[in-house]
Amino acid sequence: MTLTASVVGASGFAGGELLRLLTAHPEFEVVQATSRQYENRTVGYVHPNLRELDLRFSAPDDLDAVDALFAATPHGVSMENVEAYLDAADTLVDLSADFRLGSEAAYDQWYDGHTAPAYLDRAVYALPELGREGLDGADIVASGGCNATATMLALKPLVDAGLLTPDDQVVADLKVGSSEGGAGGGPASSHPERSGVVRPYAPTGHRHEAEIEEQLGLSLSFSVHAVDMVRGAAATCHTFPTGGKAAEGEIETPDLWSAYRDAYEDEPFVRLVAGGGGVYRYPEPKSVAGTNLAEVGFAADGDRVVAFAAIDNVMKGAAGQAVHAANLAFGLDETAGLNQLGLHPVGSP
């Protein structure tokens, strides 16, 4: 069985990564890759890693019928086009935030409203490590956001184990690479201005908070910093748990190992890294660059637990997550096409 797939927004960073993954995927075949700017150009014109691909960009308003349509477009585009996308495809896998929140009210609060609220109920949120319900056979898959993914993977075991309760204080401090800004970056993304930075670019009020609150039932203080890498998102979550064992006294490292193992031992894309020896002792984006893996870990210190997660924002944070969800939606092996190994040594991927 081969499933046909289109990628809308294929000239972008997430779109290009979808092409890389789907091209090498055993079950999918890419039939269309859209771009308005580069219509008729080869895919390799924009993505030099895909020069061998015999495919040219086509216009997004002329869509073939496919099994799966992946939309890797800026916020607002897929809600505008959801009907056209569902006309063309059995399943829409959307990488934007357009279908991630559960209600129109949430879009009114966090964004500028929603233009196709009727479709929100048909959408299934996809960060498979939080739950796979509803994904099999879903019409619309709303693939989780990159910073939210890193943050939630770090925190989920503490919530599941009852250590972290909805009232507990959580500070999430993120460090992210320049590819999060997408291919169309402005002046702040130019190499001279963006190199070597530690730049607080969303000190407060990042929209990913909404997604996290809905999914995890926690409210948190969220700050994002741009640092000098291209791929990567690292979440450092400073938590002060008061539930379960924490209520009785200090949380010990073995308790945390139990909580994290319980949460993730069957997860193919989560790797636990927490202490140990050598150079790489905690989650680091460069250990997972180019892969769909998340490194997750923790450190305990009195009444504080620092929870870490590191992902490649374009993979586990975007295209990899979307393919993972598509595998589940179509009943395929969930790791199909996602077995890339990371690199060592590697610079700033």
Binding site: T253, P254, W257, L272, V273, G275, G276, G277, G278, R281
Partner: protein, 56 residues
Amino acid sequence: MSEADCVTCGAAVALPEDAEVGEIVDCGGCGTELEVVGVDPAELAEAPDLAEDWGE
């Protein structure tokens, strides 16, 4: 090949056949550096910490 439990995370750590007291292995589960403190039966303890030396 004998096994012992990791003192940090409880995972079973298989010792090399010719393991000797004083050798260092890392836990395959959590990476903790463990010193072989007994061989028959196998026993492991946390290796002397080098924590201050890495990173910076």
